[in-house]
C-alpha cells in the first residue's frame, strides 16, 4: 500500500483553481430530501421515546408497566370498535387529560400525534372522500367525469373523519404508553403477557438500532452536505442519492445488528432477557387497570346504544 503508490499530483496541487471564497448573494436551495430525512430522524427520535418523560413524576409514570399495557390494550380495542365520531373525540380528550396528568406538555404531545396521522391514514383517507370511492351526496362538487358528477361526498367525508379520529386516539394511547414507560420495562411486560420471546427480542433490537440508524442517517446527510459543491441538483440525482443511502443504511443495519447481538452474547445473554425484579402490584395498579377495562366496555356499550 505504501510502497510504489505515489500521491496523485492533483491532490498535492495548490488551490489556485478553486473558486474564490466569496458570497455571491445567491442562496443555495436546500435539498428537499436532505431536509426531510434530517427532520424525520429528529422527530421520530423525539416522539417515540423519552426516558426523560418516563422518569417524570406523573400519573401514568406511577403505574406498573404491565398494568398500563393491559389498560391501554383494552382502550385500544375499544377505539377500534367505536363507530361514532363524538365518542372517538371523547376518547381523544381522555388521552389529553391523561397526558396532562402525566406531565406531558399538551402542545408537544398533540404535535407528535398529528405528525404520525398522515403516515398511517393518509393513503386510506384521501381517496375515501371522493364520490367514485364512497358514493353518496356530493357536498363539494369538483366537476364532471364521463357524465357523472365528481366531488367530495358527505358519506366520504364522514368516513374520513371517522378514520382520522380513530387513528388519532389510537396513536395517542400508544404514545402515552411508550412515553411514560421505560422501554426495557415495556418489553419485559410484553413477556409477562405471553408475547413470544422472539417477537419481544426483535422489538428490543429494533428499538436499539433505531437510534444508531437515526444517527447514521443524520451523519450520512451531513457527510453528503459537506461534499456537495454544485448549487443546483437534479431531482433525479437527489433520488439516486436517496436510494443509494437507503441501500448503504440497510447494509449498515445488518452489520450492526450482528455486532449488537454479539455484544449481548459476550455479556452472558442467553436468549431470555433478564430484568431487575418487578416491583409489587399495588392497590392503585389494580384499580387503574379495572377502571381502564370498565371504561373500555362502557365506551363500546355506549357507542352501540347510539345505534349504527
Amino acid at each position: 500500500m505504501t510502497d510504489g503508490a505515489s500521491t496523485p499530483g492533483w491532490l498535492l496541487a495548490g488551490a489556485e483553481d478553486a473558486p474564490p471564497l466569496l458570497c455571491s448573494g445567491k442562496r443555495r436551495r436546500g435539498g428537499a430530501i436532505e431536509k426531510t430525512v434530517g427532520g424525520l430522524a429528529r422527530l421520530i427520535r423525539e416522539a417515540l421515546v423519552s426516558e426523560e418523560i418516563a422518569a417524570r413524576r406523573g400519573l401514568l409514570q406511577r403505574l406498573d408497566a404491565r398494568v398500563k399495557l393491559i389498560g391501554m390494550l383494552g382502550l385500544l380495542i375499544a377505539t377500534g370498535l367505536v363507530r361514532h365520531i363524538p365518542v372517538l373525540l371523547g376518547l381523544y380528550a381522555l388521552t389529553l387529560v391523561l397526558a396532562a396528568a402525566s406531565r406531558i406538555g399538551l402542545g408537544w404531545f398533540a404535535k407528535r400525534v398529528w405528525f404520525f396521522i398522515p403516515l398511517f391514514s393518509g393513503v386510506i383517507v384521501a381517496p375515501a372522500m371522493f364520490s367514485f370511492i364512497t358514493p353518496g351526496e356530493v357536498v363539494l362538487p369538483l366537476g364532471h367525469w364521463f357524465g357523472h358528477e365528481v366531488g367530495l361526498t358527505r358519506q366520504g367525508l364522514t368516513s374520513a373523519a371517522l378514520i382520522v379520529c380513530r387513528v388519532a386516539s389510537s396513536i395517542s394511547l400508544v404514545l402515552l404508553l411508550t412515553l411514560t414507560t421505560s422501554w426495557s420495562r415495556l418489553l419485559a411486560s410484553l413477556r409477562t403477557l405471553f408475547v413470544p420471546r422472539l417477537l419481544v427480542l426483535v422489538l428490543g433490537m429494533a428499538y436499539r438500532y433505531l437510534f444508531v440508524l437515526l444517527d447514521s442517517v443524520t451523519e450520512m446527510v451531513t457527510a453528503r452536505r459537506a461534499r456537495t459543491v454544485a448549487a443546483k441538483r437534479s431531482r433525479r440525482g437527489e433520488r439516486a442519492i436517496a436510494s443509494f443511502s437507503g441501500g448503504a443504511l440497510f447494509g449498515k443495519a445488518h452489520a450492526l445488528s450482528e455486532e449488537v447481538h454479539q455484544a449481548m452474547l459476550a455479556r452472558g445473554f442467553s436468549g431470555e432477557l433478564r430484568m431487575s425484579e418487578w416491583p409489587r402490584i399495588r392497590a392503585i395498579d389494580v384499580i387503574s387497570v379495572l377502571t381502564c377495562l370498565a371504561l373500555a366496555i362502557l365506551v363500546v356499550g355506549g357507542d352501540r346504544a347510539l345505534g349504527l
Binding site: S184, R267, G268, S276
Partner: protein
C-alpha cells in the same frame, strides 16, 4: 473448568472467512499464559478483530481449534447453559465499535446488563455498578441515554459494562482509538493496573507508542491474514523491516519520525538507525 494450567488460551491453526468468501484469518496459532498481556498488531483489515471475536467465543473458526481455561470452546459447547454462563463470566470483550456495544436505554441499565444476565443478586449488582462507575468517573452520566454521550464517554461506559462482571480474561479491540490524550493515558494506566492485578489481557492496537507500556508480548499479523512475527515489544519495534512489511509504519517514517510518532521509543530507535 480446570484452572491453574499454564496456558490460558491455546489457538491452533485458526482460519476464518466471512460468508465463506472473504478471508479474515489464515492458520493463526497463539498461546497466551495466565496473567500475560498480549498485543495484536497489524494493518487495517488484517484480522485482529476477527481473532478477538474467536477468542471471545462469538464466532467460530472454520479450521483449527481453540481451547480456553483448559476447555475446548465450540459453538456446540457454548449452547450449553452452564458452560456458556461460566465462559461469559470469565471473558470480557470491549468492542471496537462502541455503538454496537452500548445498547441499553440508560447508562445504569447498560452497566447492569451483564450481571443481570448472569443472575447476580440485585443488591450485589447495585453495589458493583456504583463502584465501577465511580472508578471510571462516569457517576454523573448514569441516568443519561448512551446516544447523549460523546465517543470517549461511551467508551468508558462500554469498559465499565465489561469490568463490572470482573472477567479473568479481558479482550480489548483498539481500546484507545478516538480518546483524547488524558483519557488515553487514563485507560493505559487502567489496563496496566488490571494486568498487575493478574488479569489476562489480549488487545488489538495500532499504537506502537503504547506497546512497551502495556504489552508483554506482541503478535503481528500480515495483510494476508497470516502470523508474521511474535516477540517482546522492544524486539519487534527495533525490527524496522518487519514493521514496514506489516504496514505498521510508513516508508518515510524515519524522515518525519518525530512528527508521525512522537513517543520516546521510536525516536530512540530512530537515533540508533541514523
Amino acid at each position: 473448568m480446570r484452572s491453574g494450567s499454564e496456558s490460558l488460551l491455546i489457538g491452533e491453526g485458526l482460519s476464518y472467512a466471512y460468508l465463506e468468501r472473504f478471508p479474515a484469518l489464515e492458520k493463526v496459532s497463539l498461546e497466551v499464559s495466565r496473567g500475560e498481556r498480549l498485543a495484536l498488531l497489524g494493518a487495517n483489515g488484517c484480522g485482529k478483530s476477527t481473532l478477538l471475536k474467536i477468542l471471545a467465543g462469538l464466532i467460530f473458526p472454520d479450521h483449527g481449534s481453540y481451547r480456553a481455561f483448559g476447555e475446548e470452546v465450540s459453538a456446540e459447547r457454548l449452547e450449553d447453559e452452564q458452560f456458556s454462563a461460566a465462559f461469559r463470566t470469565r471473558v470480557g470483550f470491549v468492542f471496537q465499535n462502541t455503538d454496537a456495544q452500548v445498547f441499553s436505554p440508560t447508562v445504569r441499565e447498560e452497566i447492569a446488563f451483564g450481571p443481570l444476565q448472569l443472575g447476580l443478586a440485585p443488591a450485589e449488582i447495585e453495589g458493583r455498578v456504583a463502584e465501577v462507575t465511580q472508578m471510571l468517573e462516569i457517576g454523573d452520566l448514569i441516568e443519561r441515554a448512551p446516544y447523549q454521550l460523546s465517543a470517549g464517554q461511551k467508551k468508558r461506559v462500554a469498559i465499565a459494562s465489561v469490568l463490572v462482571m470482573s472477567p479473568e480474561l479481558l479482550l480489548f479491540d483498539e481500546p484507545t482509538a478516538g480518546l483524547d490524550p488524558r483519557s488515553r493515558g487514563w485507560l493505559l494506566e487502567l489496563i496496566d493496573e488490571l494486568g498487575r492485578a493478574g488479569k489476562t489481557i489480549v488487545f488489538a492496537t495500532h499504537e506502537l507508542a503504547e506497546l512497551e507500556w502495556i504489552a508483554d508480548r506482541c503478535l503481528v499479523l500480515s495483510e494476508d491474514h497470516r502470523p508474521l512475527a511474535e516477540g517482546a515489544p522492544a524486539e519487534l519495534l527495533a525490527d524496522r523491516e518487519l514493521l514496514l512489511r506489516a504496514n505498521l509504519i510508513h516508508e518515510h517514517a524515519h524522515r518525519h519520525g518525530a512528527v508521525l510518532h512522537s513517543h520516546p521509543h521510536e525516536r530512540g530507535h530512530h537515533g540508533r538507525a541514523g
